[in-house]
């Protein structure tokens, strides 16, 4: 027997190491009871816990040393660094056993992935890179062996705020809310500027963890003063963040020379420690929380047949009724697993609705935008205000994109809630056993609904108990990032006539001017329409695909759990019938054994930390 009754008392706090210990015991228990299905899933959970995927976005203005910092943190020259050319694509760097890079791109509306050499990245990611290689690149994923990344840290190098992100602030902030953390990069050449602080204020609201890193301290003799000034600026604005000074160049040099003193001087080891403390451990704790939920589910399914059998043995008079009830449950679960069951209809209908809802949202938003553009063009001369005009159009488009993805997120969560609610309210079947009810198909779903909490006045979506968060979050963020990257590639070029200013102004005959203005407006209208069409096509492709992915994921999520429940019921039915066939002594012995197992499993269940005040055990 693997469950040790003398185990440690229940944990007051979520310690990932302790949770992974509990998981190991849970897996052993599942294996002992031949529940390979449960054991396999808990193994996946354990794996995820040991390698918690943590998405850290590195963000900052142009040329502040973002790519260099990613390289220094990874301890390897992954992202191309150039005096002049800036990074123009999004690069996600994560730990892997062997180095390899994948470029995700969309060509003619079709997404594809290709493997490229790690050393050739510059052709795909820098501005003015190879035009063919650069085309349609959404995202570049680079896996490298690196001690700082092998626990699941993913660093995302982004183009500068001054470049891409400023045009897509709305989308950026939406992405930030999906990332686990943000490292904001500013260099030691000068103090923080107004635009940077304003961005930080917003990022702070959008993202749970933000670090401010001051780079290039090997170059500026007065970096300590800059650090102090930055600290004051942040304090004055009530942004409670401590800037961390680093030199990426020194860390690379230190690694080349294997010089630990120099490495310490670079400040990178301290930054890594801070990342671990402030970002990684938080993510790990959240991951541990999910693991505990999964473990509780698994152990309960293990306990179901034991306690059902025990109830029947303890009260032979009610045995027939008990068996009947188990049979009814078995049938009910079988019905639930059928294609036409109510929950799967709800799921399919929900996603059909979501798809048309998002389509509709995109369509109306685009129509509104175009109408607005037309109205604006009526009293604006594209020659004099093209810049401001395009900026507004791009910003508006980026809001549309952000809203579409938010609608998907919200929609998926709502569908999941409704399924959980439906399953927990399924008509009760079979006679009442009276008193304790060990196997309750409905009760297991209760509490799996999404919980809405208020954190600092902000409505946040609480973790779904059984791992739906694992489907959402990170992946959604990466999709959004990719779309953003591609939007940047869609140019909103100035109409031809705008380049030629009506310079002679007052001295020119009025109707020539009017005709020219009319032509400029017409061209501007066409250019904007083209841009909106392209973005729209791109975005609707991606939203459709991501709705499809969520649909599949959610169906699997519930189907797997129904299967597990079903197996518990079948086991209970079998063992109960076998027990009833035994003689009196045999039954007593069996009951004694069942009681022992039940106690042991309950003890393990009691050891599971209670989370967020939600106690469902």
């Amino acid at each position: 027997m693997t469950v040790d009754p003398g185990a440690a008392p229940s944990l007051p706090d979520l310690d990932p190491t302790a949770v992974s210990g509990l998981l190991t015991r849970g897996i052993e228990a599942c294996t002992a009871w031949q529940r390979t299905d449960l054991a396999a899933r808990l193994r996946v959970v354990a794996n995820r816990l040991s390698r918690t995927s943590t998405l850290v976005a590195v963000i900052g203005e142009y040329k502040q040393g973002k790519s260099m910092l990613v390289n220094a943190l990874a301890g390897r020259r992954v992202c191309p660094v150039d005096d002049d050319l800036a990074t123009a694509a999004i690069i996600a760097v994560y730990g892997a056993e062997e180095a390899g890079a994948r470029v995700r791109r969309v060509v003619d509306g079709r997404a594809g992935v290709e493997t490229v050499p790690v050393d050739d990245l510059h052709r795909y990611v820098t501005e003015f890179g190879d035009p063919v290689d650069r085309a349609g690149v959404e995202l570049v994923e680079v896996g490298i062996p690196s001690p700082s990344l092998d626990e699941g840290l993913t660093l995302v190098d982004t183009p500068g705020v001054g470049g891409l992100l400023q045009q897509h602030t709305a989308t950026t902030l939406r992405f930030l809310s999906l990332a686990d953390a943000v490292i904001f990069v500013t260099d030691a050449s000068q103090e923080l500027m107004e635009t940077e602080i304003a961005f930080l204020e917003q990022a702070r609201v959008a993202c749970p963890a933000v670090l401010v890193v001051v780079t290039k301290i090997d170059l500026y003799p007065d970096w300590r003063r800059i650090l102090e000034i930055d600290r004051q600026h942040l304090a004055v604005r009530g942004v409670d963040l401590e800037p961390i000074p680093v030199s990426s160049a020194l860390r690379m040099e230190a690694l080349d020379r294997a010089d630990p003193d120099l490495e310490q001087e670079s400040g990178i080891p301290d930054l890594l420690a801070t990342i671990r403390r402030q970002i990684f451990e938080g993510a790990k704790r959240r991951s541990a929380q999910r693991a505990v939920d999964e473990l509780r589910w698994g152990l309960s399914r293990l306990l179901d047949p034991i306690e059902a059998e025990l109830a029947i043995l303890d009260d032979p008079d009610a045995a027939e009724a008990g068996l009947a009830r188990l049979r009814a449950m078995h049938d009910q679960l079988k019905t639930l697993q059928e294609a036409g069951s109510r929950w799967s209809t709800l799921l399919n209908d929900g996603f059909t609705d979501l798809r048309s809802e998002v389509d509709y949202l995109l369509r109306t938003a685009v129509r509104t935008l175009l109408t607005k553009v037309d109205t604006q063009l009526e009293d604006l001369d594209p020659a004099s205000d093209w810049e401001g005009f395009t900026h507004e159009a791009q910003e508006a488009m980026s809001r549309v994109v952000g809203d579409a993805f938010a609608a998907i997120d919200e929609g998926v969560a709502t569908i999941s809630d409704r399924i959980a609610a439906l399953l927990s309210h399924e008509e009760e079947v079979g006679p009442d056993l009276g008193g304790t009810d060990p196997l309750d198909v409905m009760a297991v779903w209760a509490g799996t609904e999404r919980e809405l909490k208020t954190v600092e006045g902000k409505r946040v979506t609480g973790a779904l108990s059984t791992g739906l968060t694992a489907i959402r979050g990170g992946s959604s963020g990466m999709i959004l990032l990719g779309v953003m990257g591609n939007l940047a590639g869609i140019a909103l070029a100035a109409p031809v006539s705008v380049g030629v200013a009506a310079f002679f102004g007052a001295k020119q005959v009025m109707d020539t001017r009017k005709a020219a203005l009319k032509q400029r407006r017409q061209e501007a209208r066409t250019v904007v329409r083209q841009y909106v069409d392209e973005v729209n096509l791109e975005v609707s492709n991606r939203t459709r695909q991501s709705i499809q992915d969520f649909h599949r994921a959610l169906r699997d999520h519930y189907a797997v759990r129904l299967q597990e429940l079903s197996r518990s019921t079948t086991t209970a039915l079998q063992t109960a019938q076998e027990s009833l066939a035994r003689d009196q002594t045999g039954r007593q012995e069996r009951a004694e054994k069942l009681r022992q197992w039940s106690t042991q499993l309950r003890r393990l269940l009691d050891e599971l930390p209670v989370l967020d005040g939600r106690d469902r055990s």
Partner: protein, 499 residues
């Protein structure tokens, strides 16, 4: 030498000012006085850019003295004018219109101005008078950074440049410092440039890629990298339509080059005497360079060198001293000035802006008079109309203004000519003696010059009349032809030329 282009125009504008003086009374009279004196003063060049773009350092480099305070933090908090004066003096111009002389001391050359009991927010601007050759041609204006965290400070700069308020700008030209081409840089250029030209103009703005030595992590090839970047920026149509060119300048290297002291060179020499391995180790980072005990030279001295030269400047100077054993102090100073790129900027100021200074000033004055006319409209309708008519007469009659607009169109690409033709027009309108304006050798001779002028005049007339030439280009060709016509007349009467 010929009179600078536009001296006749100045007279006409001065006459318009006299008319304005008869119309305006009270406060408006003071404005007219301001416009009049401004016509006689050197061209006003503002140095603008984001916080910490290196504005004060560049100003020092342009004057050739370490006057303006420079510091790691945001430093220039009040708009400060540096202009030629017979004696040294600093004056505060207050919001209420009064002014007050201020006491100042110099700390290692740098002005330390004692504001006394004056609160900084009551000061509109500071007026520093300084006897200096360079200030005889330009009045330089140091500005607080745009996008400063202190909204009040960036507001002051925008006020000065006429960005936020209606009305004419107080400056005639601008040197805009950019560290990287950033969205807000382009927006800034867009809003700054004179609205009377309807579009931002490369005729009175020069962009500088500043702190060029810091590009490429202070490596010895930093300035080559900076040049390549500046060239790429300058080739960008958007940038070209906003400023004449983009020049890479390492302000700190220039400032120190102009003011390098013997004792500093001696300390650099002391460093070159160190074992190479130890020196390399020191040059890894600023902290290592200043660490106590790593060199016979005290860490305070080393820190001073670093503040004066930056890591790049130190590396550069050490290499110069090491590779050229006979390198004297003045040679090193000269090498620093050459490497900094400041000389090209000075050339640009003298040539591109200096040659047009009369026209630029006239244009500023006319736009001042125009806004004065609108102000007067309520109290003296007839006088206001007279003044406006006078301004319009000058504007319509002044070929210099037409040529300035023409140049603007050529440089912004609104009118497209072949590159050599654009150069020809730029030379023609820049002023100087006829040979210079024609791009001919100085000893060409009057007769040959006249023949050449007639030939070109003919060419441009043909281009203007060509049926395939569009309207705008035809107008441009006509302005060019007229300019040649005037040059021909000048050559005939001998009103300009070799005196």
């Amino acid at each position: 030498m010929s009179p600078a282009a536009g001296s006749g125009l100045i007279d006409q504008v001065a006459q318009a000012c006299q008319l304005a003086a008869t119309v305006a009374g009270g406060r408006a009279a003071a404005e007219v006085k301001g416009i009049q004196t401004r016509l006689e003063e050197p061209l006003r060049v503002a140095i603008a850019g984001r916080v910490k773009a290196g504005k004060s350092t560049l100003l020092n480099a342009l004057i050739g003295e370490r006057l303006a305070a420079t510091d790691a933090g945001e430093c220039t908090r009040i708009v400060t004018w540096y202009r030629q004066g017979p004696t040294y003096g600093v004056r505060a111009l207050l919001r209420d219109g009064s002014d007050e002389e201020l006491l100042f001391t110099r700390d290692d050359g740098v002005l330390d101005i004692d504001l006394g009991v004056l609160p900084a927010r009551d000061i509109e601007w500071l007026d520093v008078r300084w006897p200096s050759g360079r200030l005889a041609r330009f009045t330089l204006i140091d500005t607080p950074g745009l996008e400063s965290l202190d909204a009040e400070r960036s507001h002051r700069t925008k006020q000065l440049l006429g960005i936020e308020e209606e009305g004419p700008s107080q400056v005639d030209a601008v040197i805009y410092l950019m560290r990287h081409l950033h969205r807000s840089d382009a927006e800034f250029l867009d809003t700054f440039l004179d609205r009377s030209l309807a579009r931002p103009s490369p005729v009175n703005a020069v962009a500088v890629l500043s702190r060029a030595d810091e590009i490429g992590a202070g490596r010895l090839d930093a300035l080559e990298s900076a040049s390549a970047i500046a060239e790429r920026y300058a080739a960008d149509d958007r940038v070209r339509s906003l400023c004449a060119t983009v020049l890479p300048v390492a302000g700190l290297i220039a400032e120190t080059g102009f003011t390098l002291r013997e004792d500093e060179v001696a300390r650099l020499r002391e460093l070159t005497a160190m074992p190479p391995a130890g020196l390399d180790e020191m040059l890894l980072s600023v902290d290592r360079f200043c660490a106590p005990g790593v060199s016979p030279l005290t860490s305070e001295y080393r820190r001073d060198l670093l503040l004066r030269l930056g890591l790049f400047g130190v590396r550069f100077s050490l290499r110069e001293l090491q590779t050229r054993m006979d390198c004297s102090s003045s040679q090193l100073a000269q090498r620093l000035v050459e490497a900094s790129g400041i000389e090209r900027l000075i050339e640009m100021l003298d040539g591109h802006l200096g040659a047009r200074s009369a026209v630029l000033k006239a244009r500023s004055a006319l736009s001042g008079l125009r806004s004065l006319a609108s102000e007067l409209e309520a109290e003296d309708r007839a006088g206001s109309q007279n003044l406006r008519a006078a301004v319009e007469r000058v504007e319509a009659g002044a070929h210099e203004l037409a040529e300035l607009r023409l140049l603007h169109m050529l440089l912004t690409g609104a009118v497209e000519l072949a590159e050599d033709q654009t150069e020809e027009v730029a030379r023609l309108t820049a002023g100087g003696d006829p040979a210079e304006r024609l791009g001919l050798p100085g000893d060409t001779g009057r007769e040959a010059e006249r023949t050449e002028v007639l030939r070109r005049l003919e060419d441009w007339r043909i281009r203007a009349a060509h049926p395939l030439t569009d309207r705008t280009t035809a107008d441009a060709c006509e302005i060019i032809a007229q300019a040649y016509e005037r040059l021909h007349a000048e050559l005939a009467t001998g009103s300009t030329g070799h005196e």
